[in-house]
């Protein structure tokens, strides 16, 4: 289920500082093993919060992941 995959990833990016650092260093590598569609994976790699929101990412998460938040 994409809604679960996208939002659990956003939640982890927000709450897990080490994971966020790995993502910031190499997003594609950090996402290996996550059950994302190609479009979802591309949106995360591009840090495109608007697209992630369109794909089901909850607004309050896309507005509050440190360093990646849309405002």
């Amino acid at each position: 289920m994409s809604r679960y995959a996208v939002n659990s990833l956003l939640y982890r990016l927000k709450k897990d500082q080490d994971f966020r650092a790995r993502f910031e260093a190499d997003a594609r590598a950090a996402l290996v093993g996550f059950d994302l569609t190609d479009a979802e994976r591309a949106a995360f790699v591009a840090r495109d919060m608007r697209k992630i929101n369109e794909l089901g990412g909850y607004l309050h998460l896309v507005m509050s992941v440190p360093g990646l938040a849309a405002h």
Binding site: K15, E54, M63, H71
Partner: protein, 281 residues
């Protein structure tokens, strides 16, 4: 015999710097005015010498992740911590300077849970969930440096579809009122969030509000006309950005048929700020 001695509802990002960044000088001026009214509401609440304060608010995907999303959840235990977020941004940064821990009113929380079972409310409970700005921004603004009475935090799932209906939230509020009436305590209740903002939870629509819909809600609350409010649909709340009005619906059920008095209403591009207090018998 117990009594609800205070009821109020208010916006819950109460931070001049946040609104300066989001809306410029107008944002700072309006939230400062709104906070002043909420502080005065807090003084009136403290003057009732309350035993507990029920806070009905929503989670912003902070307390609950996607392991479980409770429709209605009561916080139990002795104390509750504020949410901690490293490198907090936006509404999370509002919490940074607030006290770390708050007392809870465990007896009242347990009664809401236990009596709920016979009243048709199988509520979720949490011993661990922290509280975010939705709870603590209003509570701290109301109290300033005065002691905060024991809290009963209650979460309503305002954002993760499918949400509870406005009617269900109202009926839950009536349950709270019956529990308070049967107990020995003087209790305040606040509902937080709103009014309209973030329609459809869509990032491109951040910056839109629905003032016409806000004024309709306010009219019904001022008139004590609660039936049209009970008949609102979750879809309607989603489209207009009134998701957090579900919290207000719980409060309305707790105080019905009391009438609301608007202490503050201010339009901003990002959100319409509000502070409302009910005249209780």
């Amino acid at each position: 015999m117990g009594k609800i001695v205070f009821a109020g509802a208010m916006s819950h990002v109460l931070d001049p710097d946040y609104y300066q960044r989001a809306c410029g000088d107008d944002g700072r001026q309006k939230v400062t005015a709104c906070m002043a009214e909420i502080a005065r509401m807090g003084e009136r609440f403290t003057a009732t010498r309350p035993d507990a304060l029920i806070v009905v608010a929503d989670d912003h995907l902070n307390a609950f992740s996607f392991n479980a999303v409770p429709a209605l959840c009561v916080r139990i235990g002795r104390t509750v911590p504020r949410m901690k977020q490293d490198h907090a941004e936006a509404f999370d940064a509002v919490l940074d300077h607030m006290p770390d821990e708050y007392p809870l009113h465990e007896d009242l929380a347990n009664q809401i849970l236990e009596k709920g079972l016979d009243a048709g409310f199988d509520l979720a409970m949490s011993w661990e969930a922290p509280v975010d700005h939705a709870f603590l921004s209003p509570v701290n603004t109301m109290h300033g440096t005065r002691p905060i009475p024991p809290l009963v935090p209650i979460w309503v799932n305002s954002f993760v579809a499918p949400q509870p209906t406005p009617r269900r939230c109202f009926d839950f509020g009536r349950h709270i009122a019956r529990v308070v009436a049967a107990g020995p305590w003087k209790v305040g209740i606040i509902a937080t969030g709103g009014l309209s903002h973030f329609p459809e939870l869509s990032l491109p629509r951040v910056g839109e509000t629905d003032t016409v819909f806000d004024r309709k809600l306010i009219h019904w609350m001022e008139a004590g006309e609660h039936e049209p409010l009970r008949n609102l649909g979750v879809d309607e709340l989603h489209k207009t950005g009134e998701h957090e009005f579900l919290n207000w619906m719980v409060l309305l059920g707790a105080v019905t048929p009391a009438r609301a008095q608007v202490r503050y209403f201010g339009e901003l591009p990002r959100i319409n700020l509000a502070a409302v207090e009910w005249s209780l018998p």
